[in-house]
């Protein structure tokens, strides 16, 4: 056990894991966290807490993660290298683990020009792979980056990262995962999957490199709410591919939201069958109330209790 988190235990017992996602409020209103958390509690093994996603200023992922722990949910604290240099990163790792956070997702982060602070100076002192290496060094060697001095206390973190099989160059995407594994990643959550063929092709490259045995891969899904959302994402979000037949299904459906959920459930069932996929990461963005339905209809309930 690296950290003894619930998520780690589920995965180490070879149980099919389910994670969800919670976007903190654009302010300090804790009731928003509570409302979203209640919608996820019991339906997922752990909840990703985003770190100022799309570079919109929100409540910090550390504080929000800490609230989730108080509410009896297990957080996966996301941390981006966009806003923190290595001093802030290591300091926040000390603080987060002291607050009881046991899972951390190492990310580069959305570029700040997408958000509401376009005048900001971005940091990028480390990239996501260097961040994984930094946290692994803190955990396994008990020392900070670039120094021999021992850390006071013990850092126990189950280290995660993201990977996007739909970014280019496609042939490099499995190599890049290999670099993350070499840097010390324990689990991966993917970008949302709609193009099943490309995902399967990527998984084959991952298996050919034996990476599925060195880290747990959680396949990412996002239910489509409407035809407009499907079209918008397909056209405007780099690194997301939505095949036309999926867009068509949602566009032509009498009840697009229901169709979106139906597609999502079919995707989960298909992903579950792929060798090397050890779990599902459900990103129901501002649609957290659907997670109970999705997990139930996909046969993912009840969630396991592990010791």
């Amino acid at each position: 056990m690296k950290a003894g988190s619930h998520l780690e235990k589920v995965l180490e017992k070879h149980l099919f894991a389910v994670t969800g996602e919670l976007g903190p409020p654009k302010g300090n209103d804790v009731s928003v966290v509570k409302r979203k958390a209640e919608l996820l509690k019991g339906y997922v093994d752990a909840v990703n807490v985003t770190d100022n996603q799309t570079a919109i200023v929100r409540m910090s992922s550390i504080a929000t993660s800490s609230f989730l722990i108080q509410m009896g949910l297990e957080p996966v604290m996301q941390m981006t290298t966009r806003d923190r240099n290595r001093i802030a990163i290591q300091s926040d790792v000390f603080g987060a683990t002291a607050l009881g956070i046991k899972n951390m997702l190492c990310l580069t982060g959305d570029h700040h020009t997408f958000g509401n602070q376009v005048d900001a100076k971005n940091v990028h002192d480390l990239d996501s792979i260097q961040l994984i290496d930094c946290v692994r060094t803190m955990r396994d060697q008990g020392r900070r980056l670039g120094g021999e001095e021992k850390i006071e206390g013990e850092i126990k973190l189950f280290i995660g990262a993201a990977e996007n099989p739909f970014g280019d160059p496609f042939e490099f995407r499995a190599i890049r995962l290999g670099k993350k594994v070499a840097a010390g990643v324990n689990f991966i959550q993917t970008q949302c999957i709609y193009d099943m063929n490309r995902f399967k092709e990527w998984m084959k490259m991952v298996r050919d490199r034996g990476l599925h045995e060195k880290c747990h891969i959680l396949a990412g899904v996002t239910p489509l709410k409407s035809g407009g959302m499907a079209r918008y994402m397909a056209k405007n979000v780099s690194g997301i591919i939505i095949p036309d037949e999926i867009i068509d299904r949602v566009v032509k459906a009498k009840k697009p939201a229901e169709e979106g959920i139906k597609i999502c459930i079919e995707q989960i069932q298909e992903l579950r069958e792929i060798e090397g996929v050890h779990g599902i990461h459900i990103m129901a963005i501002e649609w957290e109330q659907m997670v109970s339905k999705i997990t139930e209809m996909a046969g993912l309930l009840p969630r396991p209790k592990v010791e």
Binding site: D125, S128, I129, Q130, E163, F166, R176, K179, S238, G239
Partner: protein
């Protein structure tokens, strides 16, 4: 070379508002190459400034000068006589040139007329692109001769982010993804294995601007 772009004329006029006789100084080096601050631009801007001031009934005399390299002390010092005749200087050399004048002429106000933008290369006539951030420890050997520090919006060292799509960067659709270029280059060289190596965290705080003022001292060249 250093690339620059002329500041908006209204901004320049605002700087020069209190003065009636100025020296407009260009530079014969980098800013001449990128058509921002050479002799030709000095001439054009000088007449633009004169006309603008004449229009508001506040005539301004504009002296013109374009030293070969404004950032070299010997060329800057050659400007002494002309500078002494002016109340202020507008320099359309890069930020380095402006500061060379400031260092040698402590009693006269000196204003920048261009924005120094980046170290870059000419892509085609009228198009320049950033290529170097003078980070202090060149990584081009590790990245196939393509610099991710200047060309990747997130300065990534270990491959493209998830936003690389069809060869382009998600931040600026007209920009090539630096890591796609690096991948293509290593593939062409049959050296893709080089992309499997993890490039460790850069020592920004020792090598780059973050270490404080950088200075090169060559004892062998001192007189």
């Amino acid at each position: 070379m250093i690339k620059a772009e002329q500041k908006p004329i209204d901004e320049i006029l605002r700087y020069l508002d209190p003065y009636n006789k100025i020296l407009l100084s260009g530079c014969g080096a980098c800013v001449t190459v990128c058509h921002a601050g050479g002799e030709k631009e000095v001439e054009l801007l000088a007449s633009g400034l004169r006309m603008a001031r004449q229009k508001i009934g506040k005539r301004m005399e504009v002296l013109e000068l374009t030293p070969a390299r404004q950032c070299e002390p010997e060329f800057a010092l050659e400007m002494s006589q002309t500078i002494e005749k002016a109340e202020a200087v507008l320099s359309i050399a890069c930020g380095v040139g402006v500061q060379t004048l400031v260092r040698h002429f402590p009693r006269i106000p000196i204003f920048p007329g261009v924005n120094t933008t980046f170290l870059g290369e000419t892509i085609t006539h009228g198009v320049w692109e950033e290529r170097c951030q003078a980070c202090g420890n060149c990584v081009l050997e590790k990245t196939g001769g393509i610099c991710p520090i200047s060309r990747c919006a997130k300065q990534l060292f270990n491959g493209p982010c998830g936003g690389s799509s069809k060869g382009k960067c998600e931040i600026k659709k007209e920009a090539d993804c630096a890591w796609q270029l690096i991948y293509d280059r290593f593939k062409a060289l049959n050296q893709l294995y080089k992309m499997e190596e993890i490039i460790p965290a850069k020592r920004w705080g020792v090598e780059s601007r973050d270490s404080g003022l950088r200075r090169i001292v060559r004892e062998d060249l001192k007189v």
